[in-house]
């Protein structure tokens, strides 16, 4: 068990004892999937900056690839 007087901790669930608090998570390195059930309480752009930006850019690539696939079928039609 964590010696809580030695380190700042956070509570993530009733069944999980406190775990170390992360400064990096607060500053953009939080993970949306890990925190999915706590998002209504925790969500902020600042906390999930890397996840949000990368995920949205990823979907942009999906749209571009789908458009490219569709365009290839229309060339010469």
């Amino acid at each position: 068990m964590i010696e809580e007087n030695k380190i700042e901790t956070q509570k993530i669930s009733d069944v999980v004892p406190p775990i170390p608090h992360s400064k990096m998570e607060e500053n953009g390195h939080g993970l949306l999937i890990i925190d999915l059930l706590r998002l209504p309480r925790l969500f902020s752009y600042r906390r999930y900056r890397l996840d949000i930006l990368g995920f949205l850019i990823g979907w942009l690539w999906v749209v571009l690839l789908l458009a490219l696939g569709f365009w290839v079928t229309r060339i010469g039609a």
């Binding site: 999980v16 993970l31 996840d51 990368g54 990823g58 690539w61 999906v62 696939g69």
Partner: protein, 493 residues
């Protein structure tokens, strides 16, 4: 009588000699099991992109998509694009894999749930690796044999010998460092036939003039790739992606979380781009090869190579196919070897030995797995059946992974119930002749429902276990001192 010219043979031999020497050069750098299995987690962004592209792109994928598009049109692209909507999720998932600091996916099941699930996953994954490698070797050997008119078994033995040389000798470092070169060959494989094919059919307008307009539709109105089966394949792909046994190394061996994110996500986007080239090649095949004139639709690729490419480029294409087989199989072999050595041998057979002993065991197991794959390749009846079988069952094991990551209340009993229940439901749905979409939907619903209900009916996992697991999940790479200061006993790289 072989269809290969002296120039083709020279290209193939030059490639094989060059790539083998390159791989063996890196053997000297392998001194311990961490280096052998995870490359000491030192790969940067570009190497991670190359690793994700090459381990995730296999010649049998190209051959399958070309074959499907040859028969049913552009919609055949979904046999690989089923993962296109999952790809942005790789951005979210890769730091999770990296933060676990685990070497294998079996570590996940053991640490999050129980030893029994860890052992189950190890055995499940070993079976998958053997099946998968066998399928890859079989697919490539069939195609090359189709091009050259030489016996298929020659290629099964030859290709196997090559990837063993890489994998057993050099581990993941050798594999990943040669991945740059293999990546170039994959791009060649994907696009080389298109200019020759378009020239032969009279360009894109010729393609449209000679094919039914329905062949250009991305979705078929009915049949194997209509909307519902495609939707279910996409959902199953996302559920199963976390449980694919090689992904712990592919997504977690980066130097930083960012290199893992970029590597896994964008390596796969390059692959999705290549898939467009494969589907287009299939349409070209539909014009040039009369439907029904080849025994199996997957043979269309080999026939097209022989029909379209000039001397020298046929050799280059064969080298490209061999390159993808080596890259994929060597990575799977190493991942399988890591699973056995760390999760079964070290834990249950010999707990205290020198690292050099485990390294030796890892290499012996690599060779043993390969013999299994070789036998599988020699005796496999259908490449497509084996591939579909793999894609389906891996999703059932993915359910408890997703639930276990998201929901701290998930228990080992819930995980077992989910795996057994979803597999049973799938078998029942098959027996009562539901379509592919119905089989997948019912199995996934039962799996998720059982995972939740059985977990709620059983006691939560021990506080220590949950604390250790979720502390790792919430400790980004670079903040390991938090874990040390907290006195948490976790295996930190």
């Amino acid at each position: 009588m072989t269809a290969l010219s002296t120039l083709d043979l020279a290209v193939i031999i030059a490639y094989l000699v060059g790539i083998t020497a390159f791989g063996l050069y890196f053997t000297r750098k392998i001194k311990d099991t961490e280096g052998f299995f995870m490359g000491n987690r030192r790969f940067g962004k570009s190497l991670m992109v190359a690793q994700a592209l090459t381990t995730g792109t296999r010649s049998d994928f190209a051959i399958g998509v070309v074959g499907a598009s040859y028969e049913i049109g552009m919609a055949g692209i979904w046999y690989q694009w089923m993962y296109i909507f999952s790809t942005p999720f790789y951005w979210l998932l890769s730091p999770i894999f990296r933060r676990t600091r685990y070497t294998t996916t079996a570590d996940f099941f053991e640490e999050r749930y129980s030893k029994s699930l860890g052992v189950f996953y190890s055995l499940f994954a070993l079976y998958l690796f053997i099946l998968w490698q066998g399928t890859i070797i079989k697919g490539a050997a069939l195609t090359i044999a189709g091009i050259t008119n030489l016996p298929e078994s020659w290629f099964i033995w030859g290709v196997t010998a090559l990837f063993v040389l890489f994998g057993v000798a050099g581990g993941l470092v050798a594999t990943v460092n040669t991945d740059f070169i293999q990546g170039i060959f994959i791009l060649i494989l994907s696009f080389m036939l298109i200019p020759f094919g378009l020239h032969a059919v009279g360009g894109f307008s010729g393609l449209h003039a000679k094919l039914d307009p329905q062949m250009f539709s991305l979705i078929t109105q009915k049949g194997e790739l209509s909307l519902f089966p495609v939707t279910m394949l996409i959902i199953s792909g996302l559920v199963g992606i976390v449980a694919q046994p090689h992904h712990m190394a592919v997504a977690g061996s980066g130097k930083t979380e960012m290199s893992c994110r970029i590597g896994w996500c964008y390596g796969n986007f390059v692959k999705r781009l290549c898939t467009i080239g494969w589907a287009l090649t299939g349409l070209i095949a539909a014009v040039l090869i009369t439907q029904g004139s080849v025994a199996k639709r997957e043979l269309a690729f080999g026939v097209l190579v022989k029909q379209l490419l000039p001397e020298g480029l046929i050799g280059l294409m064969i080298a490209a196919i061999i390159a993808t087989v080596i890259a994929s199989c060597a990575a799977y072999m190493i991942a399988g070897s890591a699973l056995f050595t760390r999760n079964l041998y070290k834990k249950y057979l010999k707990q205290a030995a020198d690292d050099s002993h485990y390294l030796l065991v890892g290499r012996i197991v690599s060779a043993a797995l390969t013999i299994g794959s070789l036998l599988m390749a020699l005796y496999l009846r259908s490449v497509i059946d084996a591939t579909v079988h793999f894609v389906t069952i891996v999703a059932f094991v993915g359910i408890p992974m997703w639930v276990g990551i998201i929901w701290p209340r998930a228990t080992s009993a819930g995980a077992w119930a989910s795996i057994i229940g979803s597999s049973a439901m799938w078998l029942i749905a098959r027996e009562i002749k539901w379509g592919q979409g119905g089989q997948l939907l019912s199995a996934l619903l039962v799996g998720f429902a059982l995972s939740i209900f059985v977990s709620l009916l059983t006691h939560p996992e021990s506080a220590d276990r949950l604390q250790r697991f979720f502390a790792l999940m919430h400790t980004p790479v670079g903040e390991e001192e938090n874990l040390e200061r907290a006195g948490l006993k976790v295996n930190l790289d």
